[in-house]
Amino acid sequence: MATHLEITESLKVFQDNYNSNERLKIMNRDWNRVVVIKATDIESLNTFIVQDGLVSIKEGALENPDLTVISDSETLADMFYGDITPTEPYNNGTLRIIGQEDDIIRLDFISLMIWGE
């Protein structure tokens, strides 16, 4: 079981990698989204905000997110560190993403651009 701190750290690593990728920033400049990250096995809520192409992270959940990513703490930490692709836990049901299909694909694609296959 990962801790809330580990999940937050993994999100920061993801944020740093994203914000240093110029291509991603240009591609997402019109994709303004609020994504809540929720762990199922520990108390952990974070919000991942994409605004004008830049990503920022906030602890806790903002209201009315566009997407909600729900999984166990280990999966969330591994996924944002890029040790596993989101597709594996998504396909086996460990990871749930609530939101529009196009947004889910874009989120997966951002992960692909940052971490590769």
Partner: protein, 457 residues
């Protein structure tokens, strides 16, 4: 949880429209006439309503599965949890292949016949190329037929079919002749089995589980869609068979055009062309959207070659999968236009759909055992009666379809064999290739416990 309420959610009206819209296709009119051909007089409504009622059984199973595992992955996840990954993968690939071959093949054939009547100078294949190009471009650009637009198309189609049917019934001063005498049992069974084709795709609405606030809306939407479709198809088929002799309809690849022309002449034919185009474009689009997303997800889990996971940098859509589907669809449509074997595809799709319903019933039974304590927002009442009934009803229906068409049986068996071989040889190879490429070390730092300094994992 209020704080996690989504910004954008789908309404029940749109869920119903999506479920019914995925099902409404031009080729369903041909299937409806084939259903009528199996029974006596104007009793096709019995077979169609029976098919619709039976589909409620499958809808109940999908509702429970969708509530238990709300995912855009649908059967891929349900069957993986209920049986194993190999079964799930084999069935999913087979299902997607048959859907794309069946839907594109049959739909394009019927549509070319419809358009060929109005524009005889244009070569039929040209229509297929144009329509597929349109749908491919829509998919690459990420333009979706969704929301209000989907509502307008679906409800407009249903209303049009009802209006034209009532006009026809009024025109011939319709009275039911021996409405409860469909003839022999074998004819009725075959009619019901093919009648299932009329509802193919109603359950494709389950991927929307992630876009609604209450998963139960999906179940309710599927049930309402099935009800609306059953009544519309039953009335439309009866209207067709009373307005035009059955043998004339059965002999035509575009029976709804014959019917519309007989009732309203040229304007009727124009109206039906508009209905056919709307139905076909939404069907092609839904097919391409679902199958390309399936290909993308499969490539991301290293089940298909990685090239299929390439996404357009501009539109964020899986363009390689979409373009590949465009060429596959062109080939399938070309072969069907040359061979005229579109009816085999209808039967193939009906049989495959029945098999998937059987597996859905079995999945409900297995998951009640494997995941007994998991929350089920929708649980079928009456214990295992409905899942068992789903299996018991749809297994013979699948067999009935395959028994009456040897080519459908051969095609299905061959496709199943190819999928099985692919899953057992190519998939392990692709996964091994990915493992070899994967970075050796983990990026996530190893955790150490504060005092002892021992690694925890």
């Amino acid at each position: 949880m209020n704080s996690l309420q989504l910004k954008k959610v789908l309404t029940l009206r749109t869920v119903v429209a999506t479920s019914a819209g995925l099902t409404l296709a031009t080729s369903t009119f041909v299937a409806a006439v084939q259903v009528a051909g199996y029974v006596l007089g104007d009793t096709a409504w019995i077979a169609i309503l029976t098919g619709g009622i039976l589909c409620f059984l499958a809808a109940a199973c999908f509702s429970e599965l969708n509530g238990l595992l709300p995912t855009a992955n649908g059967i891929r996840l349900y069957f993986s949890r209920a049986f194993n990954d190999q079964v799930s993968l084999t069935v999913s690939i087979l299902y997607m292949t048959i859907v794309i071959v069946g839907v594109v093949g049959a739909e394009s054939y019927v549509l070319t016949r419809v358009l060929g009547e109005v524009f005889p100078a244009v070569p039929p294949y040209m229509w297929v190329v144009l329509l597929l190009l349109l749908v491919t471009l829509m998919n690459i650009r990420g333009l979706k037929i969704a929301g209000v637009f989907q509502d307008v198309i679906t409800y407009g189609l249903l209303a049009s079919l009802m209006v034209i049917s009532l006009l026809a019934l009024h025109k011939v001063s319709f009275q039911l002749n021996a409405p409860f005498a469909p003839g022999g049992a074998s004819g009725l069974i075959n009619a019901v089995a093919l009648g299932v084709f009329l509802f193919v795709g109603f359950e494709w609405v389950t991927p929307l589980a992630e876009e609604v606030t209450k998963v139960k809306q999906i179940s309710k939407g599927m049930m309402i869609a099935l009800g609306l479709l059953s009544v519309t198809y039953a009335v439309f088929t009866v209207a067709m068979t009373v307005a035009v002799p059955k043998d004339v309809l059965v002999a035509s690849a575009a029976p709804h055009m014959v019917f519309a022309r007989a009732i309203l002449g040229g304007p009727g034919a124009a109206w039906m062309v508009a209905i056919s185009l709307a139905a076909s474009v939404t069907t092609f689009n839904a097919g391409m959207l679902s199958v390309s997303r399936f290909m993308y997800a499969s490539a991301r889990e290293h089940v298909l070659p990685a090239v299929f996971s390439r996404v357009s940098m501009r539109f964020f859509t899986p363009w390689v999968s979409i373009v590949a589907l465009f060429f596959v669809s062109l080939t399938v449509a070309g072969v069907i236009l040359l061979t005229h074997r579109y009816l085999v595809l209808l039967k193939l799709a009906a049989a495959m759909e029945s098999i998937v319903y059987v597996l859905a019933g079995l999945a409900v039974i297995n998951l009640r055992r494997r995941m007994p304590d998991s929350p089920r927002p929708y649980k079928i009442k009456g214990g295992l009666v409905i899942p068992v009934l789903t299996v018991v009803v749809f297994a013979p229906l699948a067999l009935a379809v395959l028994y009456t068409d040897l080519w459908a049986l051969i095609d299905l068996a061959a496709a199943f064999l190819v999928c099985l071989i692919y899953v057992n040889t190519a998939v392990p190879y692709l996964k091994k290739k990915y493992e070899a490429r994967k970075p050796a070390g983990r990026r996530r730092p190893s955790r150490t416990t504060g005092e002892s300094g021992m690694e925890e994992n």
